[in-house]
Amino acid sequence: MAKKVGIVAGSISRFDNPRHTLQEEMCAEAVKMILDEVPDLELGDFVKKGYACCYSYFSDILEQQQCMHWIINDYLGLSAVPCYRVESGGATPIDAIVNAALWIRSGMFPAVLVVGWEKMDELPIQKVNEAIAIAGDTDWDFVSGFTYNAFYATMEARRMHVYGETEEDLAQVSVLCHNNSLENPYAQWPAQHGFSKITIDDVYKSRLISWPYRLYECAMTSEGASALLLANEETTKKLTDNPVWISGVGFGSDTMRAGDRPDNPAWKGLYPEDEKIWPKHVPAPMSPYPDLCNFGALRVSARMAYKDAGIRNPRKEISLVEIFDPYAGVVLAGLEDFDFCKRGEGKKLLREGVIQPHGELPCQLSGALTAQGHAVGSTSVAQVVDVYWQLSNQIGKKWGAPGRQLSKPKKGFIHGHGGTGCQAGAVVLEV
């Protein structure tokens, strides 16, 4: 039986862009909120009691600063504390949490502080896109003339062709996320675009980025920081009387280049039940799952996390989900790869209202990447914090919006990934 890992507290410093605040200052804001919430926690405890820090940020290029976490660590008053940075593209923050949880399970540290952040306003947007795109293969992907948007767009075109997803499905996902964010005081969308609901026509009116994706169906570039204090069972119980537990963690990988996936022998036969689901009108590649339609790394990470958490039927057992959705179609693909439905049926869960806030499986309650924001190193930390607040019945207080608290949710699932699904991580939380 693995050692229990608890969440003692979580915090977010808001996501809009530009914020002009330094990264260390945003991180200090987030960590200060944790200190305010856990009066028994002293920064001096980290050295005295052998706690550690795990830092999460994606890019050294956006600010032309390497080893930013050394600045953060000393700014927070944590010199001499064991720490390092985790980086794996978009999966950075979820992998930092997985890493911290495994540290605690190893018995090495009684508590670990995870801090995630990103600053993205210093370069013009095209250069930001470029800095993100060099997380793609700079010999074979980036230099083909494709933007990152374009790679995800080709994958969605494939989903439309193979599964019959429509532009309306994508727009509906976008409407769901944006409207979910309107009462979230940490979210970027309302901070910059106001507090009124959007409709499917607003999405259609937003400019085309790379067909089929439009502006409102793509993640924003954001700034912000967030933090999570994780601890072993004993320390968690000492520091809080309202704990939530990380009962499962997982991570997985796939090829760097999406184009290498259709015939990749590594996937062949791994998920035979998914290989059988293939329409007659499309010639099947050698490895029909994941092809370019799905994300194999997401599947691997989710099944690992479910096994770890003892979850047999995710659809029934999980109360709410936060999917890492840099593009709207990833929500639909994710639902399939996480076993909430069969492949190709993500659109059904959307159309039947299952993932709406009052549906059976509420998804993206924070607004996620297209509306809460995507300050890369902070993104999944914040999504985990959002789910933690739901499970610990704190959304009313934290958001100032009691109507947004779900009634007694039991288990939450949060996923993150990097690249075009090159690497993925997943976390299961439970009360």
Binding site: S13, E29, W140, T147, W211, G259
Partner: protein, 227 residues
């Protein structure tokens, strides 16, 4: 024992390093101006107050001298107007993008052999970029296709020419071309349709929206670049 170097330059297309050296010596990191701004700040939208910030304009840049390693032959091939891939002698997988070592787990990183590829292929997935890289913005709307070159087990992303963006479809047969004056760069490679393209299914609303999107994109290009 033998030393691996020194390297012998066999062929070279020189770059003009003068302008670059000059800028990188005098320009890099030197502040080029500043501004002071005021904006609301605070950790949540429920807790904001005005703050003043000073912003400095600080340039930097780099020139990378990058080797294509053991896949260099692909790029040397482009200079001769040829398309090369690699083939695993054990399992027979054919790669383009090429790999010097086979990634089939059964092949234990077997070294691959070079093979010349056909210049025909098929669209595996596609998009239409209404925002392309700045260097290609004048080509918007730009069709991007993941092309499975005949006989390969991979897709090579490339842009398409001579095609109505509305009509590009999955399964479309394409001819692959290499620029007449190749630079030894992946952008030398592009595709054109090898058969009459069939438009993917679109509802009347989708089609109307698509055409409006294309019109807007073309109007922006005309306004920005003329013609």
């Amino acid at each position: 024992m033998k030393q691996p170097g020194p390297e012998k330059v066999l062929k070279e297309q020189k770059i003009d390093e003068k302008w670059w050296d000059n800028w990188i010596r005098k320009g890099g990191w030197r502040p080029e101006g500043w501004k002071i701004i005021e904006m609301n700040d605070g950790p949540t939208l429920n807790n904001l107050r005005p703050e003043k910030f000073l912003i400095v304009h600080r340039p930097h840049g780099n020139m990378f001298h990058h080797s294509y390693g053991k896949t260099s032959k692909f790029f040397m091939g482009l200079l001769e107007g040829k398309l090369y891939g690699t083939k695993c002698p054990k399992c027979g997988l054919v790669y383009c993008p090429p790999r010097a070592h086979c990634f089939n787990p059964k092949c234990r990183l077997e070294e691959t052999k070079w093979v010349e590829l056909s210049k025909k292929g098929e669209v595996h997935a596609h998009t239409v970029m209404a925002i392309a890289w700045p260097s290609m913005a004048h080509l918007q709307p730009l069709v991007g296709a993941m092309v499975r070159i005949d006989g390969t087990n991979t897709c090579l992303p490339m842009t398409m020419r001579d095609i109505d963006p509305e009509k590009v479809n999955i399964g479309l047969r394409v001819n692959i071309h290499i620029e007449k004056q190749p630079k030894g760069d992946l952008l030398d490679v592009y595709a054109t349709p090898a058969e009459k393209p069939k438009a993917p299914k679109r509802t009347p609303e989708e089609l109307k929206r698509f055409r409006e999107d294309m019109e807007k994109t073309r109007a922006w290009v005309k306004k920005t670049f003329g013609k």
